[in-house]
């Protein structure tokens, strides 16, 4: 009788399950939690309370966090607006700019592998009479700057292109994109939630006008994010999307999430200090995993460029093995799949399809998201386990058998259902 159940055992010291899905979210760093704790209990004040020490204390903590975030990205503290997360930041940036600059133009440029927070926001604006260009990406996942230049016209008010992709980790050429935007007098927003704290990101050097930031991707809390809004050269104006008490200089009303903001600030402070060494560490782990998988398996390939990529990201296709069945075999390892079967829509990843991957290969992909708390022993275990399961599932795969026999799968008349 054949078995798929893995015989690879976790070595002593490796605790199961292993979390390797840090693009989805990351655990809170204990140093961040420690900084947050007093703001839940003794320092619980409302940062908008102007007439007692509870309020002053909270306000001071918020302003300190603003400084910590600004320092990480090369901004001024006054340019940081707190939000509930990067989805809100993306919505505020895109809708707020679209509304504020409506008289100047109605054209927005984005690209096809953006997060849904950007794509769906743009789709909504199309219903309100805005025109949106969705740039394609090349096979390596990056946009072509010539495409961007060609797409700009005298009605273009905003370019919104992510700094790092959440699935394949590729880093778009934001510095060049921002330069082009500034030459044409177009505002540049970037969803930087996966990039900030992971790779060098500087709003001045990278010519960024507006940037979305999240807490929980950088070992901070969920439910808190920020929006960088440039105040000089050019001064960016954003129409508020949430009305109320006029917090955050009128751009985002609502009582500030003080403990969350303190956590985001602390997470940024740690990232500023440790980013370079952490990036080298994660790159080492990532390449070790990649080498293991590539040396022991055939028909595997990396999705997206390796040259311009987040250090902790590895997105690989294990051709002729379906992604969900692979996840089932490595069920003590938390990773993500581009397979349709793991999504509610039964459609494979639109990001992978945008690279030109066939649906069959997109179904076979796994995203490994390495983070601060992963160890080499974990990587070695995960590598061995994936190799074991992929080999067993290929013994079960009619496609693998056919390819090994020299049959061209594209020549078969499949009955799609």
């Amino acid at each position: 009788m054949s078995t798929v159940a893995s015989t690879v055992e976790a070595p002593a010291g490796v605790r199961l399950p292993i979390y390797m899905d840090n693009h989805a979210t990351s655990p809170i760093d204990p140093r961040v939690l420690e900084a947050m704790m007093p703001y839940f209990t003794t320092r619980f004040g409302n940062a908008a309370s102007r007439n007692h020490s509870f309020g002053w204390e909270a306000e001071k903590a918020v302003e300190n966090a603003r400084e910590q975030i600004a320092r990480l990205i090369g901004a001024n503290a006054k340019e940081i607006i707190f939000t509930s997360g990067a989805t809100e930041s993306d919505n505020l940036a895109i809708k707020g700019i679209a509304e504020m600059y409506r008289e100047r133009g109605n054209h927005i440029i984005t690209q096809v592998t953006e997060h849904k927070a950007v794509l769906d926001t743009c789709k909504r604006l199309e219903k309100y009479g805005y025109r949106v260009t969705y740039l394609p990406v090349k096979a390596d996942g990056l946009i072509d700057l010539d495409d961007l230049a060609r797409a700009m016209d005298d009605k273009t008010i905003l370019v919104t292109i992510m700094a790092a992709n959440n699935e394949i980790g590729v880093l778009q050429p934001i510095r060049e994109i921002g330069k082009l935007c500034h030459e044409k007098g177009v505002l540049f927003h970037t969803d930087a939630m996966q990039a900030v704290g992971k790779v060098r990101f500087n709003v001045i050097a990278d010519n960024v006008d507006v940037a979305s930031i999240s807490g929980h991707k950088i070992y901070g809390p969920k439910g808190v994010g920020a929006l960088y809004v440039r105040r000089r050269n050019p001064r960016v104006q954003i129409a508020a999307q949430i009305d109320g008490g006029g917090h955050e200089r009128g751009m985002r009303s609502g009582t500030l999430n003080v403990p969350g903001i303190v956590g985001l600030g602390k997470a940024c402070e740690i990232a500023a200090e440790e980013m370079d060494s952490e990036a080298a560490y994660l790159r080492g782990l990532r390449d070790r995993l990649k080498n293991k998988l590539e040396s022991e398996l055939d028909y595997v390939h990396v999705n997206g460029t390796m040259e311009h990529r987040l250090p902790g990201n590895l997105n690989m296709s294990f051709v002729y093995v379906e992604g969900e069945s692979l996840l089932m075999g490595i069920n003590d390892v938390a990773v993500s799949s581009g397979s349709a079967c793991t999504s509610a829509t039964l459609e494979p990843s639109y990001v992978l399809k945008a690279l030109g991957l066939g649906d069959d290969v997109a179904h076979s992909s796994i995203r490994f998201g390495l983070g601060r708390f992963n160890t080499q022993a974990e990587v070695d275990y995960v590598g061995a386990k994936v190799v074991d399961i992929v080999k067993k599932l290929r013994e079960l795969s009619p496609l693998y058998e056919m390819v090994k026999e020299g049959i061209d799968l594209t020549k078969i008349e499949w009955q799609a259902h």
Binding site: M328, T342, D359, I412, H417
Partner: protein
């Protein structure tokens, strides 16, 4: 998604994995699904020409755990049955046995299709007419 114990059992220990000689007279092969849909099943049967009993059944599946389990279960169920009996297996039987959630019902449909395709191939090869089972199917 949480899998039922039955799905996990078939996934961990799939029954009747393998390949039969598709050129053999007594072997019928069904290949259903498509790689771009994320599942392909190949189900093969070896039929006793005198008794029309399925003496051997083998499968290979590219697909999710539920697809693997559905095809594994299908081979288990058709072994020892006559081809006409095997055609009586319905996808809803598979759904019930494996407690498949609604989004995985297509896996059971594919397994039923695979059984029919394998038997159809064997019948074609051996000049066996579509009689009783076809009538039964039409009656639904």
């Amino acid at each position: 998604m949480a899998y039922s114990d039955r799905v996990i059992d078939h996934y961990n220990n799939p029954r009747n994995v393998g390949t039969l000689d598709k050129t053999a007279q007594e072997v019928g092969t069904g290949l259903v699904g498509a790689p771009e849909c994320g599942d392909v099943m190949r189900l093969q049967i070896r039929v006793n020409p005198e008794t029309q009993v399925i003496e051997e059944a083998k499968f290979k599946t590219f697909g999710c755990g539920s697809a693997i389990a559905s095809s594994s279960l299908a081979t288990e169920w058709i072994k020892g049955r006559t081809v006409d009996d095997a055609l009586a297996i319905k996808n809803t039987d598979i759904v019930k046995e494996l407690s498949l959630p609604p989004v995985k019902i297509h896996c059971s449909v594919l397994a039923e299709d695979a059984i029919r395709a394998a038997i159809g191939d064997w019948k074609k090869k051996n000049g066996v007419g579509e009689s009783a089972p076809a009538a039964a199917a039409a009656a639904h």
